[in-house]
């Protein structure tokens, strides 16, 4: 097998890319997709550790992450649609009502 460090390194790089996407992109939908990238990197680490410990709990946890991600996406996209209806934009830099 490929050493465990390679898998964890890949997971780490993907997670950092997700963080970078959330920080630098302005489109709310793309920010959500970067969030999915981070979920995915965490899932990869979970599966890797599950194999290292030879226990299935890590894989079961990935199931729950997937279910929570699906719920989060459904509510999040509904929020984006609601914001788009009232502001006619999903640019997060434009949502500055509280700034005055």
């Amino acid at each position: 097998m490929v050493p465990i460090q390679y898998y964890l390194g890949l997971s780490m790089i993907l997670f950092a890319m997700g963080v970078l996407g959330v920080i630098i992109r302005r489109n709310a939908i793309v920010i959500f997709m970067s969030l999915e990238l981070m979920f995915n990197a965490a899932n990869l680490a979970f599966i890797t550790f599950a194999l290292m410990h030879q226990k299935l709990s890590g894989q079961i946890f990935v199931f729950f992450v997937m279910a929570v991600a699906a719920a989060e996406v459904a509510v999040g996209l509904a929020l984006i649609v609601a914001i788009f209806r009232s502001k006619h934009s999903i640019d997060v830099d434009q949502q500055s009502t509280l700034k005055g």
């Binding site: 097998m1 490929v2 790089i13 950092a16 990238l37 990869l44 890797t48 709990s57 729950f64 459904a74």
Partner: protein, 220 residues
């Protein structure tokens, strides 16, 4: 032995290039498609890590259902490209620095503090078969499983409530507008106009009661 490394590096390259595509592409449709490629590459990595069931769930749930939802919303809103606006000048360099720091920390932990990590062994044939996954899920994780179903139900109801168009909202908005216009013209004309609109609302509500809900959906 070498074939495993080559396979891993090809998959990792696909995953990383598609992640860069997610970061850089300006059209959010392309972003979604890059993300599908990324999810598929990760799913194959799951297969190599002895998780066939998770790998296929990843493809059906993530690359299938969730990304379709994203594509639906992107096309529904018609916001593939944002209009070019004023960007905060220090946002991009600061973001790159912060992500770099995070990457360095993770790299440090993986390279120099990996003494506690064990080696990966080739998974046994029945390591994560659907049978074993099912037994583990329903023996040890039955309560979280049921709680998940409630979570999904709440998400379903929440999404419907958030996007539902409130009944009569248009008429109420008209009343507000009319009141403001009346304020501009002077206080004399305010009352009759308001009354007129209130009567209209009442008439509409009465019509709805007679015709039943949903009868006026067509001409709205």
């Amino acid at each position: 032995m070498a074939a495993e490394y080559i396979f891993f590096f090809i998959l990792a390259a696909v995953a990383l290039v598609s992640a860069v595509g997610v970061l850089l592409s300006q059209n959010s449709i392309y972003t979604a498609l890059f993300l599908v490629v990324n999810f598929s590459a990760i799913a194959v990595l799951f297969l190599t890590l002895g998780a066939p069931f998770i790998a296929l769930a990843q493809i059906t749930v993530y690359a299938g259902a969730i990304m379709i939802l994203f594509l639906f919303v992107i096309m529904l809103l018609g916001t593939e490209k944002l209009p070019i606006g004023k960007e905060i000048p220090w946002q991009r360099p600061l973001g790159i620095i912060l992500a770099g720091v995070l990457l360095l920390e993770g790299g440090y932990l993986i390279l120099f503090r990996s003494g506690a990590l064990g080696a990966l062994n080739t998974p046994a044939a029945d390591y994560a078969s659907p049978n074993a996954i099912g037994l583990e899920l329903f023996d040890n994780y039955l309560l979280p499983f049921e709680v998940t179903s409630i979570l999904l139900l709440v998400a379903l109801v929440g999404a419907i409530v958030l996007t539902k168009d409130e009944r009569g909202a248009t008429v109420r908005r008209l009343v507000t507008l009319e009141t403001r216009a009346a304020d501009d013209r002077g206080a004399d004309t305010q009352k009759p106009d308001l009354l007129e609109y209130e009567k209209e609302i009442q008439a509409e509500e009465k019509r709805e009661e007679v015709a039943g809900p949903g009868a006026d959906e067509f001409h709205r």
